[in-house]
């Protein structure tokens, strides 16, 4: 099953690598999160009195939480393009006529977004930690909260991608898919701000509940999306 899904992933990545619009999002967001945010933290740290250290911790928690958002922002363009783009460019019919199952095809399209997003998230998070520690002149990151965020990030990413790819199956064009995919950001934003105001969301037992819910949602929605995939639905939208 995985061989054909990987073939789809490699083909899409090859195509994406030649599109500046997609490539741009994949480079700019990790730079902002990994480089610009630590600079802001360092500037704030230099300008506030030691008594207001709480403000700095709030900022670090807020920006740490943004790494959950990265998993929902980076794949938006790629995942929206997955099926909707193939429909727009009229390349989908040959793919649907090939001996690849719905599950393999869906998995391939999910992997195209998932693999680079997770790699970029971890790369950017590593740079973020190094620069924050260097900027503050002390070891601040990764703390336990940030480690849990990084463990939860791929699970959030997977769910966001599954939802976006599924939307891409159902709609006619790329733009429509991208607009609907934006809704995925709302629950992620809620968790990001909850984490900024109270770090307890990633503390026991809430972290276990959150991870279990995310794993359940990832598996459950994958099964549902494959079941509701429908080649006929795709071909009717060409």
């Amino acid at each position: 099953m995985i061989t054909k899904a990987i073939a789809v992933m490699k083909k899409d990545l090859k195509e994406i690598s030649q599109t500046f619009q997609v490539f741009g999002v994949m480079i700019i967001i990790p730079i902002i999160f990994g480089v610009v945010f630590p600079i802001i933290i360092a500037v704030v740290a230099a300008s506030i009195p030691p008594a207001e250290i709480g403000t700095l911790d709030f900022l670090i928690n807020l920006y740490s939480g943004f790494f959950l958002m990265m998993g929902a922002i980076i794949p938006t363009v790629i995942a929206s393009d997955s099926f909707a783009g193939e429909k727009e460019r009229k390349t989908i019919e040959a793919l649907l006529a090939a001996p690849i199952s719905d599950s393999e095809l869906f998995l391939g399209k999910v992997l195209v977004s998932f693999v680079p997003t997770v790699i970029l998230t971890y790369l950017s998070a590593t740079i973020f930690c190094v620069l924050v520690n260097l900027g503050l002149g002390t070891f601040k990151l990764p703390n336990l909260n940030f480690i849990f965020i990084l463990l939860a990030a791929p699970l959030f990413t997977l769910l966001a991608i599954e939802l976006t790819v599924f939307v891409s199956v159902k709609v006619k064009g790329f733009r429509e898919a991208q607009q609907l995919a934006g809704a995925v950001l709302v629950p992620v934003l809620a968790i990001v701000f909850l984490n900024a105001f109270t770090t307890s969301i990633f503390m026991f037992p809430w972290n276990i509940i959150l991870f279990a819910s995310l794993i359940g949602a990832d598996i459950g929605f994958y099964g549902l999306a494959v079941k509701k995939f429908g080649r006929e639905n795709i071909i009717s939208k060409i």
Binding site: A7, K14, E15, K90, E93, A97, A98, P99
Partner: protein, 306 residues
């Protein structure tokens, strides 16, 4: 072998395909003709398991389209209405990607890609992106993709559209070869009636989802015009010859125009010798005699008009 049994596909109230039944034998080239929106592409999509029927079924090489879609996709090659090519990628990458989906081993894949690109004169452009290709080159590449896994059954939607005459002839000859030497089933949907007449052993004319006629062009012609026509050029047509023809019970109808007698008969094989003999005995000076053949275009237009 393809067996289609009472196959239907409805989209809401629209009956895109309405209870069609036919069979296609191994090695046969079958033409599927009809106006735009008649149900040709829907039929191909049903038989290549892209969409599911509303009712009825079909068997391809023994596999039922209702429950064996994956096996069917492995043995069919489809040239779709649009070339469906990845324009930002090279022809080699396009073919290699589909080769992987058809589980062709890497070494065989590379050799097959080389063969097909050479056959379709695309070898010198193999490392350039498809977006730089002309319409004809894209069509050739799409055809190469359909042939990549040497399918037992080929569905070709307008296979020579956009091709120059030389390449179109090359493709037609290759299709003939696939049918005659390799006994593959070729199902062609086309508007090009001359091509269908040249290539197809049998044709079906579909309109509003229903098959209006099916058979070889000669069989269809006989069905439509209820028999055959003989054309005899005579130098000295006169009253005696006319009376001789009236007396012959095998002649249903005849007329004389521009020195040519057009005679309706039931069976040319048995009736022609008797007619010629009678005319010669009546003193007719016969210049030529031939069986009038209706072109596929005449047959098609007649079926569609009805």
């Amino acid at each position: 072998m393809i067996q289609v049994k009472n196959l239907s596909k409805h989209f809401g109230d629209l009956k895109a395909v309405d209870g069609i039944t036919f069979e296609i034998e191994k090695g046969e080239i079958f033409g599927f003709l009809g106006p735009n929106g008649a149900g040709k592409t829907t039929t191909i999509r049903l038989l290549s398991c892209i969409i599911k029927p509303s009712s009825g079924t079909a068997f391809l090489d023994g596999h039922n389209i209702l429950d064996d879609a994956m096996e069917i996709r492995k043995i069919v090659g489809v040239l779709t209405e649009n070339p469906c090519l990845y324009e930002r990628l090279t022809p080699v990458y396009n073919l290699d990607f589909f080769g992987k989906l058809y589980s062709i081993p890497a070494a065989v894949r590379a050799q097959r890609i080389e063969e097909l690109l050479t056959m379709f004169d695309l070898n010198d452009r193999k490392n350039q992106k498809v977006e730089t290709f002309s319409k004809g080159m894209r069509q050739k590449l799409a055809l190469a993709r359909a042939l990549l896994h040497s399918p037992k059954i080929l569905f070709l939607d307008e296979p020579t559209a956009a091709l120059d005459p030389k390449t179109a002839k090359g493709v037609r000859d290759y299709i003939k070869k696939l049918s005659e030497e390799e006994e593959r089933i070729i199902f062609i949907s086309t508007h090009n009636l001359t091509e269908a007449e040249y290539l197809c052993n049998r044709v079906a004319v579909i309109d509003h989802g229903k098959i209006r006629g099916m058979g070889s062009p000669d069989e269809l012609s006989r069905d439509i015009w209820k028999g055959q026509q003989v054309q005899i050029a005579i130098k000295n047509y006169n009253h005696q010859i006319q009376q001789t023809l009236k007396d012959l019970d095998i002649i249903k109808h005849f007329e004389f125009q521009n020195n040519i007698l057009i005679i309706d008969v039931q069976d040319t094989l048995t009736d022609n010798p008797r007619i010629i003999e009678a005319l010669v005995n009546a003193g007719a000076q016969i210049v030529s005699a031939e069986i009038k053949r209706h072109s596929l275009e005449e047959v098609y237009l007649n079926l569609i008009r009805d």
